[in-house]
Amino acid sequence: MKKVKIYVTLRESILDPQGSAVQGSLAKMGYGEVEELRIGKYLELTISDSARDIDTLVKEMCEKVLTNVVIEDYRYEVGEAN
């Protein structure tokens, strides 16, 4: 079995008000050295070994439903599931 970790983030050009709000809180707490904070999503998929080409599969799922390419970027890592 394979474990796929997918990280979804808002595209760089898009303002992330949630991230800015959290960054503001950190600054108030004394962590003013944080220059930017962006919030994204993490998805974890366990995929059977019998699956077809895993890169094709993951890219297809990401582009069809898991991300909205108008506003989001994604990257993923494939590893062995425990």
Partner: protein
Amino acid sequence: MKFAVLVFPGSNCDIDMYHAIKDELGEEVEYVWHTETDLSSFDGILVPGGFSYGDYLRCGAMANQSNIMAEVKKAADAGKPVLGVCNGFQILTEAGLLPGALLRNKNLKFMCRTIQLKVENNNTLFTNQYEQGQVINIPIAHGEGNYYCDEETLQKLKDNNQIVFTYSGENPNGSLADIAGIINERGNVLGMMPHPERAVDALVGGADGLAVFKSIVKQWRENHVNN
């Protein structure tokens, strides 16, 4: 004219939509559950607001995978009027029937109040009962209504007069170019964040939204009723 009001798990403006059509307009209307696979007997499709599939993953993303959405695309291709309000607008952008996407409100707050909208284009099948430039009062109720598209798309929307409603005076959610509602290039699919179906009776605060539905019916009758 016969309308379909789509119902997804988590839709919550479906009853308002049904009421607007049946009680205020006196037209035919039926609820259609998202697992259905045929919309051919309907003349107009209404995609209501709410929180389809709990807004999991992204607003409208799961609803777009429902059986019924393939039928909505067919109806849109056939030129039938398709109106998506709030979550319905989010679903139509996820489906690619309208360009762009809806982001979290700039101030991160869920907002529920009446705002002012300007009719930017009254030459559509959804707005022919308004005056050009008319300012109307319509309620909003959303947390993710901040319309976004890339520059090229925005230029196209402007060039084709596809921006139908803008926020007037105050932009509540930070949307690009104050956009509150857009139409597709062909002119038969409208998505808007404010809720015209919640403004159809003066008794409950105003009836400025009724003209959206009256416009649809007027245009349909002109095209379909034999003289």
